[in-house]
């Protein structure tokens, strides 16, 4: 197809002109990210790097998050792009790695890979060749924020079991406050909400069974856990089906809501918006006393090297640096994200609590396992749970819809007649 080639060339030329004027010179590295807001912090991280590696100039270039994947893949397809790339994890990584755009990393080239847990490395591993393509940069934890003042004022303890949680919701509601700020109008937050409140009922065993092909989402455990979501409805704001993400955030930040189900990535954002907010982060309620409440855990992305970099040695130096505990410590302190590097000391008390909660976790299941192929588990879950919460689908129907959608590419679900 000549037209195809022409268009590709044109796209490449445009991408080249607008994004990167000329190839990097030796001693120069370009770093691309979607985190525009972290520019100052990265300047400090790179200054650390330059202390031991002088003479390597790193240019920080950020692109808008919504179109980041498209921008990077277009540039990489045209044989351009930066030397070091901030990549997403799981399916987001696979898009680039499978196309051969990224340089595989191993214990020879990056001995620091030993600093990571298997789960962290799995988030940046291509499933087809089992090779690692990026150094993981942060873990994210989904759990429950609560407002300490409201709980104290109403003489409530932070709930540990589902029963206590529902009782707390009722007490908060009686005080004319919103118990849980979340709504279901924003699709991706609906998935967060679902993972937070079903996690303790499902646990890592359910996730392991799904991955091993021993269970589907029609499993009685999953259907029962979704049933808990229906009980949750009395804790959500009036008209929660129309409450979107920013509205929930505002409800919690303004003290009109006592709890908010969300990710550790909110911490720095919440502090920026309301420095005096008396917030705490806890695990979601457990099924019963004596059982653990489980947070949801996933890895957020990593640092990869462009397979066609003109400056492989310096790029490797940078990525190796990004896998050291020194870097992890600094990143955790500067960005408020928990670095998954072993031996990282978390100074911030709230982040330290999050890191501790990570000991009792289950995977953010759709992100970790079912965002590689279409239809993604996430898009299936989000729409179906939105309908369930509005009363237009049963937990059983949701389970069937998710299972049948995933069965399109996931063999264990086909065998079970999903």
């Amino acid at each position: 197809m000549d037209s195809l080639r022409t268009v590709k060339r044109a796209v490449g030329a445009i991408a080249g002109l607008t994004m990167l004027a000329g190839p990097a010179l030796a001693g120069d590295l370009t770093f691309w990210t979607w985190r525009q807001e972290d520019r100052a912090q990265y300047a400090q991280l790179f200054a650390d790097f330059n202390r031991t590696n002088p003479g390597i100039n790193i240019r920080f270039e950020a692109y808008e998050p919504q179109n980041y994947q498209t921008i990077v893949s277009t540039a990489l397809a045209a044989g351009r792009g930066p030397d070091v790339i901030h990549v997403r994890a799981y399916g987001g990584l696979e898009q680039f790695a499978r196309a051969g755009y990224l340089m595989p990393l191993d214990n020879q080239t990056v001995p620091e890979l030993a600093n990571f847990t298997a789960e962290a490395l799995a988030s940046e591993t291509l499933r087809s060749d089992n090779r690692v393509y990026a150094v993981p940069f942060a873990s994210q934890t989904l759990g429950v924020f609560y407002n300490r003042d409201i709980f104290q004022r109403l003489n409530l303890q932070p709930p540990q079991t589902w029963e206590q949680f529902i009782a707390a919701c009722r007490a908060i509601k009686a005080a004319n406050l919103v118990p849980v700020a979340n709504g279901t109008a924003t699709a991706w937050m609906t998935e967060v909400l679902t993972s937070v409140f079903t996690g303790s009922f499902l646990g890592p065993q359910f996730a392991a069974d799904v991955v091993a092909g021993r269970a589907t989402f029609e499993d009685p455990r999953y259907v029962a856990a979704l049933g808990k979501m229906l009980e949750l409805r009395e804790c959500l704001p009036n008209g929660f089906t129309g409450v979107d993400y920013p509205t929930s955030q505002q409800l919690f930040l303004s003290g009109r809501a006592a709890m908010f189900a969300g990710g550790s990535f909110e911490i720095s954002n919440f502090r920026r918006q309301n420095a005096n907010l008396p917030m705490e982060f806890i695990a979601p309620p457990a099924p019963a006393a004596g059982q653990p409440g489980l947070v949801s855990l996933f890895f957020d992305g990593g640092y990869a090297i462009n397979a066609r970099t003109g400056n492989r040695d310096d790029a490797l130096k940078l990525v190796r640096f990004m896998a050291t505990p020194e870097f992890g410590n600094r990143l955790t302190a500067l960005l408020g994200n928990i670095s998954p590097i072993r031996g990282v000391q978390v100074q911030d008390p709230m982040l330290a609590r999050v890191a501790q909660l990570n000991q009792n976790s289950w995977p953010y299941i759709m992100a970790v396992y079912f965002r590689y192929d279409s239809p993604t588990g996430s898009e299936l879950l989000q729409g179906a749970v939105q309908r369930m919460m509005a009363g237009n689908a049963t937990p059983q129907q949701v389970g069937t819809e998710i299972t049948q959608g995933i069965a399109r590419y996931y063999q264990p679900f086909q065998r079970r007649g999903g």
Partner: protein, 303 residues
């Protein structure tokens, strides 16, 4: 001027426009068609698969269901907007034509939202319809109609309707202007003669004005059709790329974008299926547009 220099002159005048047309219209369409015949790994092209992408989006679940749902929503949008937007516009135009008191003010007021960007209108109405902070629900509660307050954008039963209402509110001034221009072109003698023969407003509108504004109606219907099937900005701003809640506001534009460029959560791209959807949309819109034009032109009368 010789014939050759005249031809050269014409070519010189046409060429820039033609070049722009080719680069920005013809090439993308041809490219999309080519893209739709390949398998894609994200944005990297893999092997030739013929019409397989079309088969998937039209027959394989869950895609076929999503395609049909989005298409059906576009149909609802088109039909409802024909009534709510073009219908209202026709009556507004008639009201303006009659130069009732205050018609100058109304002429401006009706057209004012049209000049605002869809993003602003969408964000504004999203706030107005917010179930907690929104003026609509709080207003209803304040006047004792709290029972009517509901999460307008969060219910499958009201979400699409709310978007259609906002779209009509935003754009009604445009067809109104088209119709008004069409009505003003009708010779005064015709209207006066009809009035002398004892025709009331109803007869006048049905027998004289409606047939004579046919050319304007053709344009209004056609633009409405194309606009309805390419609908994207307003649902994108108000209910998001996923067509929340539960796909109740999913339309072909959103569905195409998610498929080709990735959704909010996964960013999983498939240019093949996306291009197949784009080609199907294009073919459908062009076929029906031609049909509409033929049908509607037939009822146009010259005066």
């Amino acid at each position: 001027m010789s014939r050759w220099s005249l031809r050269l002159w014409i070519a010189f005048l046409i060429l820039p426009a033609a070049a722009v047309m080719v680069v920005f219209v013809v090439v993308p369409i041809v490219t999309a068609l080519a893209y739709s015949l390949y398998a894609w790994h994200g944005s990297a092209r893999a092997g030739f698969v013929g019409l397989d992408n079309f088969r998937v989006v039209l027959t394989e679940q869950p895609y076929a269901g999503w395609t049909l749902r989005a298409f059906w929503h576009n149909v609802i949008v088109f039909v409802s907007l024909m009534l709510a937007q073009n219908g209202t516009a026709f009556f507004i135009a008639y009201g303006l034509l009659k130069t009732l008191p205050g018609h100058r003010f109304h002429q401006v007021a009706v057209f004012l939202p049209v000049i605002l960007s869809t993003v602003i209108i969408g964000a504004l109405w999203k706030l107005l319809l917010n179930p907690i902070f929104g003026l609509v629900n709080n207003g209803l509660t304040a006047i004792g109609l709290g029972s009517l307050a509901q999460p307008w954008l969060g219910q499958e039963s009201t979400a699409l309707g709310s978007l259609i209402f906002v779209n009509a509110w935003h754009w009604v001034g445009f067809p109104a202007l088209l119709f008004l221009a069409g009505m003003q072109r009708i010779p005064k003698e015709v209207l006066e003669a009809a009035r002398l023969d004892g025709a009331g407003d109803g007869v006048l509108m049905r027998r004289i004005i409606w047939p004579l504004v046919a050319p304007a109606a053709t344009i209004a219907v056609l633009l409405m059709f194309i606009g309805s099937f390419n609908w994207f900005e307003l649902p994108y701003v108000m209910t998001g790329l996923d067509g929340s809640p539960g796909g109740a506001t999913d339309v072909l534009g959103l569905y195409f974008y998610r498929t080709a460029f990735g959704g909010v959560t996964s960013g999983l791209q498939d240019f093949g299926r996306g291009s197949a959807l784009a080609v199907l949309m294009f073919l459908f819109i062009i076929a029906v547009s031609i049909l509409f034009t033929r049908m509607l032109r037939r009822r146009e009368i010259e005066v």
